[in-house]
């Protein structure tokens, strides 16, 4: 039997007994109404904000005692208008202009509409990216960007140096993920020699390929670990797993025996792993493959951990996001202690009160800004695009950037420090 025929039969066999679906039309129509309501609210809010913002900005120009709004907090183009602050914290409950003046800029690079806004320390304050980013990683050499090219088949990794110079590191098909550490970059994708799917290790400083290994299944580099590169195999789901690309021997070690585990992050010899149905995370010792503890969000109906960020350098804390309602529009940041497994949910109320949600559709929705602050890629109560800064020790939050915006076209993406 030909492979084509086998595939046809396999597909038919898999979908022979689909589960019953209830109220699909109703749910889809509710989605339609939600989209329309958001569009209407954004249009009305933008008009109101424009009426408020113009006099405020005029006053700011005419009154030297009133500090100006930092450039990074204004829209990159004239199409969007910053909205009034909607945070619950006292510092940001004042008018948007005064709140903006007291809030410091994000301490990581981030993008809005294809423009890279640099954190302090870079020579170039902003850089027009040649192609829109899918993921950003801040390194000592500059910011590594994973992007799509104009060719839908081709992905690209490029490096934006501190002075704004852009160097292409590699262009290859189907780059599904990258890991960066120091001057080393690992990615999966590109042409295969016929043995499987390629993993490639490169030197960021020289742009040279160092090692290559072909593996039998789709594997996404998660992070560099002492043994090499931690890989998440397959996609999030029952067939996902974990493995290590051992760089010393250039071999591939599959070590997730139970199946269904998915690598989220790794640092200092430990890995954060989403287990089985992804309602729980585990801290796993990479050397022994033994879990140290399991931690699960209480009362979660449809749990979903998006992306976790372990805090460097000691990996004692991690952040992720979760939802107990089953609604992806209702997520809040979760702080976890990587030594005890205890999770802190105080930020949930802060987010709920302010009408914030964690934006889930980007690679790094939550990143550490420093040892006690996280930056959250967020949407406000009116659908506006925000970067929210939270102090994880005091469980308070403030708007760091309010970009306004609507359903289409605008996006904020945070970079992760590696």
């Amino acid at each position: 039997m030909s492979m084509e025929q086998q595939l046809r039969e396999s597909f038919e066999a898999q979908v022979g007994s689909p589960p019953a679906v209830h109220d699909l039309a109703d749910r889809s129509l509710r989605g339609v109404r939600l989209v329309r309501r958001r569009r209407a609210v954004v249009v009305v809010t933008a008009a109101v904000a424009a009426a408020v913002a113009v006099p405020l900005m005029t006053t700011a120009r005419n009154t030297s005692r009133t500090p100006a709004v930092p450039a990074t907090q204004l829209p990159a183009t004239g199409s969007a208008v910053p909205l009034p602050s909607s945070t619950a914290t006292p510092a940001s409950s004042n008018s948007s202009a005064s709140a903006a003046a007291t809030v410091k800029e994000p301490g990581v690079d981030y993008t809005t509409e294809g423009i890279l806004r640099r954190a302090a320390g870079s020579t170039a304050a902003s850089v027009d990216l040649p192609r829109h980013a899918r993921a950003l990683y801040m390194t000592e050499q500059g910011t590594v960007v994973l992007a799509k090219t104009n060719n839908p088949q081709l992905d690209e990794i490029y490096l934006v140096h501190p002075d704004g110079k852009v160097d292409t590191i590699v262009k290859a098909a189907d780059i599904v993920g990258i890991a960066v550490e120091g001057s080393r970059l690992a990615y999966s994708g590109g042409p295969s020699a016929g043995h499987g799917l390629p993993l490639v290790l490169m030197n960021l400083a020289t742009g040279k390929e160092i090692k290559r290994l072909e593996v039998p299944m789709a594997s996404t580099p998660v992070a560099f670990v002492p043994q090499g590169v931690l890989l998440a195999n397959g996609e999030l789901g029952s067939e996902s797993g974990l493995s290590t690309w051992v760089l010393k021997t250039n071999t591939y070690t599959d070590w997730s025996g139970s199946g269904g585990d998915f690598g989220l992050d790794a640092l200092g010899g430990i890995a954060l792993v989403a287990e089985g149905d992804h309602s729980c995370v585990a801290i796993v010792n990479i050397a022994t493959h033994q879990p140290r503890f399991h931690s699960c969000l209480p009362g979660v109906k449809h749990p979903e951990f998006v992306v976790f960020d372990l805090l460097a350098p000691d990996a004692k804390r991690y952040v992720g996001s979760g939802s107990s309602s089953g609604n992806y529009d209702d997520r809040w940041p979760v702080l976890g202690d990587a030594t005890t497994g205890v999770e802190d949910h105080r930020l949930r109320q802060v987010f709920a009160d302010a009408g914030f949600t964690v934006t889930s559709s980007v690679d790094h929705p939550i990143v550490w800004e420093d040892n006690s602050h996280i930056l959250v890629n967020s949407r406000g109560a009116y659908g506006e695009y925000l970067i929210v800064r939270c102090d994880v020790d005091t469980a308070t939050c403030e708007e760091a950037v309010n970009y306004g915006g609507s359903e289409a076209g605008i996006d904020i993406m945070l970079s992760r420090r590696v």
Partner: protein
């Protein structure tokens, strides 16, 4: 269906949801995500109904929306949740101890393919679309559809051969 009003939309969903859900499952490999994908695609379809001039093209639009949305979720590594009031029924489980037959084994390898390659296979060999139709739906060239198909087949053959050789070396 001349124009897609709410009543016609409900009728369309009621009659075609199972068929659409099957395709969604093959694209996502997970029934819960498939239902999310289908719901999102149907929402997009209804929002775009004024642009769908031919009433008979509603299903084609919904299928195209599923494919493009699934690719978009994958590109952004979206693993998010969608609102749902009722849990989907779990997929039928195999009895423990029952070995996968060849088709199941093949499916396990198909699931591990990159989503775009899997989408090409689903459109070509489940939906029975031509290379040109597949290319149009995915927004890629016919040449790319050919190369992706060939590459996927090559990867599947290699995976199956590797699995077979491991099986043979087992004591």
């Amino acid at each position: 269906m001349a124009t897609l009003d709410e009543e016609a939309f409900r009728e369309f969903v009621a009659t075609r949801q199972q068929s659409l859900l099957r395709t969604a499952y093959l694209l996502t490999t997970n029934w819960a995500t498939a239902e999310d994908l289908l719901q999102t695609a149907l929402t997009k379809t209804y929002l775009a109904r004024h642009r769908i001039r031919d009433g008979n093209a509603v299903e084609a639009y919904a299928r195209a929306a599923m494919v493009t949305t699934s690719m978009s979720w994958w590109r952004r590594k979206w693993h998010g949740e969608r609102p749902t009031e009722q849990l989907p029924e779990p997929p039928p489980r195999q009895d423990e101890g029952t070995a996968y037959d060849d088709r199941d084994e093949l499916w396990q390898h198909v699931r591990r393919l990159p989503p775009r390659q899997r989408a090409v296979l689903v459109l070509r060999f489940y939906e029975d679309l031509s290379e040109a139709e597949t290319a149009r739906l995915l927004g890629i060239s016919v040449g790319t559809v050919k190369s992706q198909t060939s590459r996927s087949m090559q990867a599947l053959r290699a995976s199956l051969a590797a699995a077979e050789s491991i099986e043979e070396t087992r004591p």
